[in-house]
């Protein structure tokens, strides 16, 4: 059991800066997801925690030990790789036992721990098989069992579900959450899938271009994005942005409507989520372009003052392309961003 502290960690590959001075505290027994598009540095950060990459600057602490100079085997971690890395020349049993044998545990302990983790991951009937005789989902289970059997302080997972088909991914996601919560192991999990991140995480660290944009619990990240990038990245469809200018009497003028807003600044972007819009008599005049019925709701892609604008409305409303809808944002769900810095205002 251990917390992880990352102190101004930077990583350069030649002239390319993969990470700009990252600071992140990961609480003991928490489940933190590093979320971002490919190339944002999330895997690099995970590999630095694992000891598979050396940081160019900064410190990594696990528990009360500084580990950035230690090799992976001395860090008390276990890792699950994107391609599972189940050793093809060993049986499932020997794969799970591999790390325990390296620790030179007695055979009885090894048998017990392999059996227990195999039962936990429902692969006890596969122990005699080789990797080549397993499906992708089974290999995934072996990889997780192998990590759990180590009883590590920290489990690191690099997009472990991305090679599974959609249905299996859903099933494994729920199972992983249960197993990891029960094991009370600190977990760092890398993914580019925001639904996965939302459903698994105690805390999400949204990364972009080698920086952490926001690290907070999933609902906070969703409701109160710290930056415009986070608002535009999280949510499907993401937030709508409408440029606003300072009106008289301290309000803000956006697409012909006046809203109460922050006291400072003279140019801001108004942001609102597509599901926080109501079909009303007064609101943004949106010309409908595309309609996508999703069953309970209808996703409407429209234009407000020539900019794309999406709304999720109740499917009872019948709309057709070319219609003009009046969409009013819920006042308590409006967020403001500074267009220059991208930060929330």
């Amino acid at each position: 059991m251990a917390e992880i502290r990352i102190k101004s960690v930077g990583k350069r590959f030649g002239s390319f800066t993969a990470l700009h001075s990252i600071d992140l505290d990961i609480a003991d027994q928490s489940f933190v997801v590093l979320l971002g598009a490919s190339g944002c540095g999330k895997t690099t950060l995970l590999r630095i925690i694992a000891g598979l990459e050396t940081p160019s600057t900064g410190e990594v602490w696990i528990g009360d030990r500084r580990v950035d100079h230690l090799p992976p085997r001395e860090r008390g971690i276990a890792m699950v790789f994107q391609n599972y890395a189940v050793f093809p020349h060993l049986t499932v049993f020997e794969n799970i036992a591999f790390g325990l044998r390296m620790k030179k545990l007695p055979q009885a302990d090894i048998d017990r721990r392999v059996k227990r983790t195999a039962e936990l991951m429902h692969i006890e009937q596969l122990l005699k098989r080789y990797s080549g005789q397993l499906s992708g989902g089974q290999r995934q289970r072996v990889a997780v069992a192998r990590a759990l059997a180590m009883e590590p302080d920290v489990i690191l997972m690099d997009e472990p579900l991305s090679n599974l088909d959609a249905l299996l991914r859903l099933e494994m996601r729920a199972e992983l959450k249960g197993v990891l919560a029960a094991s009370r192991t600190t977990t760092v999990y890398v993914t580019h899938d925001q639904v996965e991140a939302m459903s698994l995480a105690d805390r999400i660290a949204v990364m972009n271009a080698g920086r952490i944009e926001q690290a907070a619990d999933p609902v906070e990240v969703y409701r109160n994005p710290a930056t415009r990038f986070v608002g535009g990245f999280i949510g499907s469809p993401p937030m709508n942005f409408v440029p606003a200018t300072r009106a008289g009497n301290g309000g803000w003028q956006a697409a012909g409507l006046t809203f109460a807003g922050p006291a400072a600044g003279d140019r801001l972007d108004l942001a609102v989520r597509p599901e926080d819009l109501t079909h009303a008599a007064e609101g943004f005049a949106a010309t409908v372009r595309v309609i996508e019925p999703l069953g309970a709701h209808t996703l409407v892609t429209a234009e407000v003052e020539g900019r794309p604008f999406r709304a999720v409305i109740d499917s009872d409303h019948r709309v057709a392309p070319g219609d003009v809808l009046h969409l009013m944002p819920r006042a308590d769900r409006i967020r403001w961003f500074d267009p220059e810095t991208g930060k929330a205002a």
């Binding site: 971690i77 276990a78 890792m79 391609n83």
Partner: protein, 285 residues
């Protein structure tokens, strides 16, 4: 589409079909020619090896072996053949060991580490094969005499190692590259040092490929005749021995000796052909 095709008059499609069949015929002929180029000499070698000395000398030829081991017997009991055979085996084994011990680490480094001049190094490794051995032979012989390596199995093995090394480096490079680095990384996170990870995880996975590359090094040494002739006098390898006695040795000896040289090489290369094709990282990745 199909309607449009059907409307094309038959006489318009014929030239296309004809030129295609000519192309196929040329291709088949080229394949047959190449096969004959390789297989006919091998067949004649085999026929004459498995015929009695009288049949080898006699005329007309039947084209079929008389299945007589007289020639083989004659060859095996010929003065000096046994020693030459032993020298060939010793040299080839030493070459094989040296080429792998020196080549595999280079292949590993090329596959796993990024360093400046990596592609230039790969090219350079290959270019050593383009350097003509005859140019090196005289200075090499002089140097070998000075350090008393001349006319020894190990001296010749060193030369053969330099010939085999480019292949063992490039083949092992491709074999290591075919194993995802995550296997090793997983081993490290599970408690292995770099060396333990190599021994417990990577080595079992690459062993067949390494063996293939070792066999190839063996074959290079086994077949090599120039350096063997220049650098040995008393301790001839089989190739050098046969070349030396070519003038005066009887025909059955030449045929049996030739077969003796060709057979192991053929078998080995056939056994490891899959790995040879992967040399440029095509098949194995």
């Amino acid at each position: 589409m199909s309607a449009a095709e059907a409307e094309i008059p038959a006489d318009l499609t014929r030239p296309v079909a004809e030129s295609r069949s000519i192309g196929r015929w040329l291709y088949g002929a080229a394949v047959a020619l190449l096969l004959a180029w390789v297989l006919v000499p091998l067949y004649l070698l085999l026929v004459n090896t498995l015929s009695s000395p009288d049949a080898v000398q006699g005329f007309p030829k039947t084209g079929f072996p008389t299945l007589d081991f007289g020639s083989v017997n004659f060859f095996l009991t010929y003065e000096g053949v046994g020693q030459a055979l032993l020298n060939s085996v010793l040299t080839a084994v030493a070459t094989m060991v040296l080429a792998i011990v020196l080549g595999a680490p280079a292949g590993y480094a090329l596959s796993r580490f990024e360093f400046k001049g990596k592609s230039a190094f790969r090219m350079l490794v290959l270019m050593t094969r383009a350097f003509p051995l005859p140019l090196l032979a005289l200075p090499l012989a002089v140097m070998f005499i000075q350090v008393h390596l001349d006319d020894t199995v190990i001296g010749l093995a060193l030369v053969h190692t330099t010939l085999a090394l480019p292949f063992s480096v490039l083949v092992t490079f491709s074999i290591f590259s075919g194993i995802p680095v995550e296997f090793e990384e997983a081993a490290w996170t599970l408690g292995c040092t770099r060396w333990q990870g190599f021994r417990k995880v990577l080595l079992p996975l690459v062993l067949p490929g390494i063996a293939a590359s070792a066999v190839f090094a063996f074959t290079i040494s086994w077949n090599e005749v120039f350096a063997a002739s220049v650098l040995t006098i008393q301790n001839r390898t089989l190739t050098a021995f046969l070349l030396q006695t070519l003038d005066y040795s009887p025909l059955p000896l030449k045929f049996a000796g030739g077969a003796m040289l060709v057979l192991p090489a053929l078998i080995f290369i056939f056994a490891v052909r899959k790995y040879m094709l992967s040399m440029w990282g095509i098949a194995n990745r």
